[in-house]
Symmetry: C2
Subunit: 499 residues, 2 copies
């Protein structure tokens, strides 16, 4: 068979799998947005069946043979080669999992999630602890199955951030600690900014409409997506032509809806920017969670929490909510939405202290994997680190070690991508400012499409063509460098807090 | 292997297929309700992939072997036997289709639908005619593939209404003609009832809320379903625990929303009434389209267009729309919603002339199948029959032969189930009135749950346990008998038109 025919077989197989996976994604979207409560049980079963079928098709030996032959072929284009290489990597990894492990971890995940829900209800870590211990054992086993160099945590990191290494994250978070801890203390010593106006009454419909306008301004394509309401905002997609975002609206807190719109909008632009021709193939997928998060954070923080963005948009916002904002200047608004204050809850944290929350989780995950930390001690360790890094006394398990869903899903190695994304975001935006003439002036005028095009061209269209590291070097001339984040943070917050 | 183990294998296989089919149903629901326009192409591909997988699993020889063994087993319960028999029937039928035919008709269906859309745009039957001819050829071929006695149309009827026969429908529609044509003429000679108030302005939200209340009153379970908006109302389900209805709202025509709510609600109660334990099995499926339609028509016409129903509900409606209905009495309202008037469009027809619309389609479909009618003559034949039965001059192809989507989908043999459903509905309701003490008084008070329970017990819970004919005989003591419809029609409409 010619390389061309073989490649076509590979593409056909991959697209069939993608059709199933994207159908699962729709089942999941509906589950969060519209499903009536009694529908949950059969829906879970349906998702299980489709997931099993997608998995079976992917680990089929026939696909493996096609991939092996293609890998040794000289008749593929560079992009085709890249697709084959990445799929072969995925295939090799999937094949490592014994069926017994796959079945057992599915069961353990379900049980651990149930235990987490119950522990949340009772605000008691001990209710969760035994199942979490089993889950951690499974994750250690998973690391052994996958194989790793140096540290078992590397095996898990690689699932979310291909190529990320524990020792590199150690260095990164050391920088975070040595730079950010003192800076946040300096800020805390300054007089605080006002935020009272964010908690006034902002009626549902005009809030919703304003969020939609912000998405349109970013260049989110509503012909290839839509926004709905769900308890926790998320982005999902069923192709590059149907990329959906969700949000939630709190009438007594304007920021709940707004930042999720812009954040999820950033994720969605990445998915909408992937090329249709790459549907089902690695080049049609995002490169890593860190790079994905760089897109949401860039829009949320660099654009959406910037002074320039609110120059025009605050005028619009005041037109929509004249009463609520009548005693607020644009400068007060800007400061209010950037208030820095150590707190217990990650998802409510400001853009600086956020990284302490991640640091705690990174250190704990790493320790759990190399057994230097035991699950039974997690509550104490958690609270001690929060005291050390954030100088807060965690008042309860729900506001501490039980706050996140991730571990109950077995997502160990996921959290660091949130910080990586934030740091990538600054480095990318810094470069965009150099390359797009008058970018800041454009943002002030609400003209965001050139920025979207720049991101599309530099990042979105490539999918997994380059690794995260390669991408960063191609775009900015160097690998991820924390100094850009600190430069940005100092400049911005020294301004806000008059330091 | 024991019969018990074999049966378990059969159940597992069927449930896997059901999981896929219900996932396809969700993809279809989303397509109609929420999908952004650019998502259409990949969505069609995804539906195609899942449909192919469900088909492949169903026609798998292994399932055939299990079914053969189970069929000859003496260790199954009566209900288990029934499941196996029905599945074997489905399996045998599916196996008859050569792959080449399945692939070709999928392609022809897509092309015929496109041609129909184009013809609708141009209001010109000739644009549709050549593809429809190909489609009809395929349907004749399908009848040969499936096999039949007496008339090729029987093979197609059986797909929608198992056991229905062309000669029985001939007899039935002869009765319709000989009874209903003159009766409608008598009505037409009487002074007409007023309907002006239906076309006043009824704002969106209170209309929607009223429709939801009507669904709740019927006992539709919103924990196992929801209502959304779509261009054409429909009912779909992803299990018995998630049965969804859709409607549309016209602010200048109150009836658009209301009747679709009650009609689709009737369909939905059937699906919600199937037993969870029969998920994926024939006993967990509706017996036929005619019986399905009997449920929607019973609620829409026998209940929802009855005088008793509006005794209490008209008071509620007047509270919601006091201005719009201030000059309307309950009797005027009742007469208005039952106005009889021959017209061109089936879906807008009243409950009497509706059956002439079906009769035209039945006669044409039958003629197309036995070649006594040619596709090229359809427009003329259509218009002539409308003149004959309804005494109306069809003004254009869009208001005539092009009005329905069904043929473009290859649904030949589907239309008669609409009339069958209406006639079953009357016969069932007639029986319910005998068996439920004070049913009419209950309806007047808006107490509909005992009726729902009666339908559930008599029809819903059985799924495909009995054939449509058996079901009708079990419930009413005789097979479908048109006289009940005529008795009902005479009594009701003589009252309304003072005859």
């Amino acid at each position: 068979m010619s390389a061309k025919e073989l490649y076509q077989q590979y593409v056909t197989a991959m697209r069939k799998i993608a059709d199933i996976k994207y159908s699962i994604a729709l089942l999941g979207w509906d589950q969060e947005c519209y499903q009536p409560k009694k529908g949950a049980e059969f829906r879970a079963q349906q998702i299980g069946t489709l997931s099993g079928m997608a998995h079976d098709l992917f680990v089929d030996d026939k696909l493996g043979e096609i991939l092996s032959q293609l890998k040794s072929s000289n008749d593929l284009s560079e992009l085709q080669k890249r697709n084959v290489e990445e799929t072969f990597k995925d295939y090799t990894r999937e094949k490592k999992y014994p069926t017994s492990f796959v079945e057992k971890i599915a069961q353990v995940t379900s049980q651990t999630y149930q235990a987490w829900l119950k522990a949340r209800e009772q605000n008691d870590f001990k209710v969760y602890s035994p199942m979490l211990e089993t889950m951690i054992d499974m994750k250690r086993e998973e690391a052994e199955i996958l194989g790793y160099e140096n540290h078992p945590y590397n095996a898990l990191l690689d699932l979310y951030e291909p190529g990320a290494k524990t020792d590199e994250l150690d260095v990164l978070f050391k920088e975070v600690r040595s730079n950010l801890v003192d800076f946040v203390k300096e800020i805390a010593a300054k007089p605080q900014v006002r935020t009272d106006f964010l908690k006034r009454n902002y009626p549902y419909q005009p809030q919703w409409d304003f969020g939609i306008d912000m998405l349109k301004q970013m260049g989110y394509d509503f012909d290839a997506g839509r926004q709905d309401v769900s308890p926790h905002p998320f982005t999902t997609n069923f192709s590059m032509q149907d990329v959906r975002v969700t949000t939630r609206v709190n009438e007594n807190d304007f920021s709940t809806m707004l930042w999720s719109c812009i954040h999820e909008g950033g994720h969605a632009l990445y998915e909408q920017g992937l090329l249709v021709e790459n549907y089902g193939l690695p080049l049609g997928e995002a490169v890593s969670l860190g790079i994905h998060e760089s897109q949401s954070r860039l829009w949320e923080n660099l654009v959406g929490r910037g002074f320039g963005y609110w120059k025009g948009n605050f005028r619009n916002l005041k037109t929509v909510f004249p009463e609520q904002l009548k005693d607020v200047s644009d400068n007060e608004f800007y400061k209010g939405i950037n208030k820095v204050q150590p707190s217990f809850i990650r998802v409510e944290a400001d853009e600086l202290t956020y990284h302490f929350h991640i640091m705690v989780r990174f250190e704990i995950e790493k320790g759990l994997m190399d057994k230097s930390i035991q699950v039974k001690d997690l509550s104490e360790i958690w609270n001690a680190r929060y005291k050390e890094y954030l100088n807060v006394d965690v008042p309860s398990a729900n506001k501490g070690v039980l706050q996140d869903i991730h571990w109950s899903h077995g997502s160990i190695g996921y959290f660091p991508t949130y910080s990586l994304g934030s740091f990538y975001a600054v480095q990318f935006f810094n470069q965009a400012t150099k390359e797009i003439a008058g970018l800041n002036e454009q943002i002030e005028k609400g003209e965001l499409l050139q920025l979207r095009e720049w991101l599309r061209e530099k990042i979105h269209v490539h999918g997994r063509r380059f690794t995260a590291r390669e991408l960063c070097e191609r775009i900015t001339g160097e690998p991820l460098n924390f100094k850009y984040f600190m430069q940005y943070a100092r400049k911005k917050y020294e301004g806000i807090y008059g330091m």
